[in-house]
Structures are given as structure tokens and as C-alpha cells.
């Protein structure tokens, strides 16, 4: 019994790290163009898109989870698409969890990167253009290196926020050991089962982890505190 609980804890930790890593990479890929667009556009839609990206900051995770569940479910538009592609249904799978987490943590990655791009301003890119760098070249050789602190903040926040999610995991992923049972859910299970010792180990670990992340963020990158 003891060893099973222990291996289940380990599996939960492993799954959490795997989820957070994949989600962080995806968030950087998806979030960077959004942040770039938001930082530089003069479009009338800037406000709308900015608000949509920021929604997870204020929405209860259950609301976001509910809509994603409906959309990805057998009768939802995403569900119909995945079924017709032969991918089956996404809820209660690891893939579904990854997709939901990307939505949920998006503002935590987009906003620091957007702030960093805005802080750079137009001038270095104009300088790059007068030095024969195409817009794509200037983005990689000037904008990204200068926005490095923003990327660092975004990656750390995205990773940490994914590790810490609970509500959306329950809504989309359920509680399947080894597939969708992450640390936060595992702690909940331990507490429900009155296994406080095990809960302490995991909860203490999470506390230490979160503190280390924030400490790293604040000491490595003091100028970006406002990103939070």
C-alpha cells in the first residue's frame, strides 16, 4: 500500500513536470507572435484580442474548463473535428490537458513578452532595417535578444502556473493515474483520504518549488517584477 501511494506520487510529479514543460514550449511558440502583434499593432482589434488573452486571469478555471469540455466533447466543434480526423475525443486525455493548460496559462506568457517588446520600441528595429536586416531577420537578431528578460519571465510564469493549476485539470483531465492525475489533484486525493503525511510531502514540495521559482524570477530579473 505504502509503495503504491509512493509510486503514484512519483507518477503525479513526473506527469506534472512533463505537462508543464510541454505547455511552456507550446506557450512560447503560440504566445510570441500574439505578444508581438499586441505590442506593435495599431489595429482596432487590439483591445478585443488583448482582453480575450487576459480572460483566464479573471475567469474561474471551472468556467474555462467547462467551455473547453463542451467544445472538445463528442458534440462540440473541436470534438467533431478531432473525431473526423480519427483522433478521438480529447477530454480526459493528456493531449486535452495540454490544450486546456495552454489556454489557461496564455496571459502569463503573453503579457511579460508583450511588455518587453513594447519596452524595446520601434527604434532598434528601424536601425536594423537601415542596416539591411529584413523584418524577419531583425525580429530574431534584435527584438528577441533585447526582449530576453520578458521571455525568461514568461517561460517561468507559464511553467509555474501550469504546475499550480487544479480546477481546469479536474474539468478537462479528470483524475486518471499516470494520464491526467497531476500533483495538485494528487494532494486533493490524499487529503480526501485523510493521508495528511503524504499530502504534506507533496504540498511542501509544491510550496518550495513555487517559492524557488519566484525567488529566481525576482533576483535574476529585478526589472521585470511588474510582469506579475
Amino acid at each position: 500500500m505504502e509503495s503504491t501511494a509512493y509510486s503514484q506520487d512519483l507518477a503525479a510529479v513526473w506527469l506534472t513536470l512533463k505537462l508543464a514543460s510541454i505547455v511552456t514550449v507550446l506557450l512560447l511558440i503560440v504566445g510570441t507572435p500574439i505578444a508581438w502583434w499586441l505590442a506593435r499593432t495599431r489595429s482596432a482589434y487590439k483591445g478585443v484580442i488583448g482582453a480575450v488573452v487576459a480572460l483566464p486571469l479573471v475567469l474561474p478555471p471551472t468556467v474555462l474548463g467547462f467551455y473547453l469540455l463542451v467544445a472538445m466533447g463528442p458534440n462540440g466543434p473541436v470534438g467533431q473535428l478531432t473525431q473526423s480526423l480519427g483522433l478521438g475525443i480529447l477530454p480526459f486525455t493528456f493531449t486535452g490537458l495540454v490544450i486546456a493548460s495552454v489556454f489557461y496559462s496564455l496571459p502569463f506568457v503573453v503579457q511579460p513578452i508583450q511588455n518587453a517588446f513594447e519596452a524595446i520600441g520601434e527604434r532598434p528595429l528601424e536601425v536594423a532595417a537601415t542596416l539591411r536586416a529584413s523584418p524577419w531577420d531583425a525580429f530574431w537578431s534584435v527584438a528577441v535578444p533585447l526582449a530576453r528578460p520578458g521571455f525568461l519571465s514568461g517561460a517561468i510564469l507559464g511553467f509555474a502556473h501550469t504546475v499550480g493549476e487544479f480546477g481546469i485539470v479536474l474539468m478537462i483531465g479528470g483524475n486518471i493515474p499516470g494520464k491526467t492525475r497531476v500533483v495538485s489533484v494528487q494532494i486533493y486525493d490524499h487529503v480526501e483520504a485523510l493521508e495528511y503525511t503524504e499530502a504534506h510531502w507533496l504540498a511542501g514540495g509544491m510550496l518550495l518549488f513555487s517559492f524557488s521559482v519566484l525567488l529566481a524570477l525576482y533576483t535574476l530579473n529585478p526589472s521585470r517584477r511588474k510582469a506579475l
Binding site: 528601424e126 536601425v127 536594423a128 532595417a129 537601415t130 542596416l131 536586416a133 523584418p135 533585447l146 530576453r148
Partner: protein, 363 residues
């Protein structure tokens, strides 16, 4: 490389509207001069392609970069230009050397070897920054930063160099530190330089060709002295009216004076450090010139040259007129009261003497 530059832009920006049609020489320094809001920076940005004028044409010689009539617009990164902004805008994540190589590397990729005009050590030497190459850009002074920015622009093998008030953000000491380098560029560069400035002294010191801009329009454009000696310019330019003469140091005299010679005769100034034979640019303000019908021997004013009146015009100060003289082929402006003009009977062709109270030496 002395192909003429053609620039014509019509660019509305809210209340402001840039509407210029310029022909500039394909060599030497052309200054775009005007007060803030006159459109000089916008005009320069349009040349670089950083602003796209809906009606625009820009060509250096037969190389056309913009021709909106044909719907043609070459984006800035495909134009062989070098640009230096008001603040140096060095890339903070790169060392001085890597900053300088940024444009150079990209040119090497695309341009044939024949288009490379400068090598890095050469340019670093020209601008006096060879000892700074391995530094971080944060360790540089304002003047050093601007010199690095100029070097970086030159290494991108430009066919034209655009300078947007490169000295405006510097204090007087740094300005004086960087001006000799700009003069060196003037001597050694075969490409045209467009220099935006609101400082009459910088323009007088550096420019060969002068364009005056006011509220987005060209007020005057021509060789430096031809524009400076015009007496029909709008009020905004009259207060600073004056001409620039080039004079050669003839002799350092015993009593701490240096005698300069220009076609109109000798000019005495406080002792200079430069060796005899050096060519200096001097600015003579119209307000520092007074006129007299007979040479004044009993006067404390040393500099007195003879000339003939070309014409005169009212100024924006009531009671004052601007008189243009011909002094052995050099134009000279004098600002005097209307009463004096009437008393002396100033008219075209009158021969008289101009007393010069002050001479500003520019280089």
C-alpha cells in the same frame, strides 16, 4: 559617385503635411535646416523609406528607390543607405564590434565585393574608436556612441548617409569632440550626406548645400552661401541671418592676433592654434556688420572690407533692413536701421565699407 539626388514627397500627418520636391547634389553634405516641426526629420525618414509617402519619388542618380506613380517602393532594408539617429540607438545586446559588424555582415551576404567601400579597421580609425571595439555599448560616452553609430552605418556600404541631428542629444563638449570627425568624413567620403539640423552653427560649419524647411515646405534650396545670403527669407530665418566665408590663415601676428585672408581682404581674429595655410570657415552675422561710406581709420573695429550694394530688403523687425553686399565676389549681409540706410543712401551699386564687429570661427 556624383549622381544627383531627387526627392519628392507628399506626406500628410494629421495637421502637418510634408510637401517637398528637392534636387540635391550627389556629393558633399546637404543640410536640411529648420525649426522643430518643420518636417526635416520626416523628410529624412521618407528618404530612408521608414515613412512611406503616398505620393513620393526618390532616386540617387538612376537608381530609383521609390516611385509611387509606378507603385514602386523599395523597403528600407533593401536600400543601400546608412542612417544615424538623434540618439545613438546602438544594440545594447551586442559589443561595439558586433554592432559595427551588424550591417556589414548583411551587406557581404547580398552585395558583390565591388560594392564594399570600407573595412572595419579603416572606419574605426577614421572615427577614432579603434580602442573601443571590444567594449560593451554601455561603457561608452555619448560622443563615442554616436561615432560608433556613424561607423556602423558606413560599414553597411551606403550610397547615401542620412544623419538625423546626430549631435542634438550631446552637450557642447561632446559636440566639439565629434565635429572634427564629421569634418573628416566630409573630406574623405565620396558619398552624399544628408544632414538634418536645427543648429545654424553646425550647418554653417559642415554644409555645402542648404535646404531651408518651414512647415513641411521647402523655403530655399541651394549652395550654402547662396541660400544664406538671400534677403527674402521668411521671418523665422532672418534673426540668424549671416554668411559663411572660407578664409585661409595667412599669418600669426605678434600681438596675439591671427590674420586670415579671403578674397575681400584680411580679417583679424584672436590667435588660432592651426598652422598657416589652414582653411577656416567663418560665420559673419548680419547683425555684426555695420556700413560706412568712408573707411574708418579712427575706429576700434579692425575688420573693414570694401564692397558694393547688391540689394536690400525689410526684416521682420520694423525699422531694420537687410543689405546684401558683394565683397570681391563673396556675399556679405548687413543688418542696419532704415534710418541709417536712408542717411547713407543705400542703393544698388553703391560702393561702401563694411565693418565687421565679430567673426565666429567654425573650424
Amino acid at each position: 559617385m556624383s549622381a544627383e539626388i531627387q526627392a519628392s514627397f507628399c506626406l500628410p500627418r494629421g495637421d502637418f503635411r510634408l510637401d517637398v520636391d528637392l534636387r540635391l547634389p550627389g556629393h558633399g553634405i546637404s543640410a536640411l535646416f529648420g525649426h522643430s516641426g518643420s518636417g526635416k526629420t520626416t523628410c529624412l525618414r521618407a528618404m530612408a523609406g521608414l515613412e512611406r509617402a503616398a505620393q513620393g519619388y526618390f532616386a540617387i542618380g538612376n537608381e530609383v528607390w521609390q516611385d509611387e506613380a509606378q507603385g514602386y517602393f523599395l523597403p528600407p532594408h533593401q536600400r543601400a543607405l546608412g542612417m544615424v539617429f538623434q540618439e545613438a540607438s546602438l544594440f545594447a545586446h551586442l559589443s561595439v564590434r558586433r554592432n559595427m559588424e551588424y550591417g556589414q555582415k548583411r551587406v557581404l551576404k547580398s552585395a558583390p565585393a565591388s560594392e564594399r567601400r570600407f573595412a572595419l579597421p579603416e572606419v574605426a580609425e577614421l572615427l577614432g574608436i579603434a580602442h573601443l571595439l571590444e567594449r560593451s555599448t554601455r561603457q561608452l560616452s555619448g560622443g563615442e556612441r554616436q561615432r560608433v553609430a556613424i561607423a556602423r552605418a558606413l560599414l553597411a556600404a551606403p550610397k547615401i548617409l542620412l544623419l538625423d541631428e546626430p549631435l542634438a542629444a550631446l552637450d557642447l563638449k561632446r559636440k566639439l569632440e565629434i565635429l572634427p570627425y564629421l569634418e573628416r568624413l566630409h573630406g574623405e567620403l565620396s558619398i552624399p550626406v544628408i544632414y538634418v539640423s536645427h543648429s545654424p552653427d553646425e550647418v554653417a560649419r559642415l554644409a555645402d548645400h542648404l535646404v531651408l524647411l518651414e512647415q513641411g515646405r521647402v523655403v530655399a534650396s541651394g549652395p550654402l552661401n547662396q541660400v544664406l545670403s538671400r534677403i527674402d527669407l521668411p521671418a523665422a530665418f532672418v534673426d540668424d541671418a549671416g554668411v559663411v566665408i572660407e578664409a585661409r590663415i595667412a599669418e600669426h601676428e605678434r600681438d596675439e592676433l591671427t590674420r586670415l585672408e579671403f578674397p575681400g581682404g584680411p580679417i583679424y581674429v584672436s590667435r588660432r592654434q592651426e598652422p598657416t595655410g589652414t582653411l577656416l570657415r567663418c560665420r559673419i552675422h548680419a547683425r555684426d556688420v555695420s556700413l560706412t561710406l568712408v573707411p574708418q581709420v579712427q575706429s576700434s573695429i579692425l575688420n573693414c572690407v570694401s564692397g558694393t550694394v547688391l540689394d536690400l530688403a525689410p526684416t521682420n523687425t520694423p525699422g531694420h533692413v537687410l543689405v546684401r553686399l558683394d565683397v570681391a565676389g563673396c556675399p556679405l549681409l548687413a543688418r542696419i536701421t532704415r534710418r541709417s540706410a536712408d542717411k547713407l543712401g543705400i542703393r544698388h551699386g553703391l560702393a561702401l565699407w563694411a565693418q565687421i564687429k565679430a567673426v565666429a570661427l567654425l573650424g
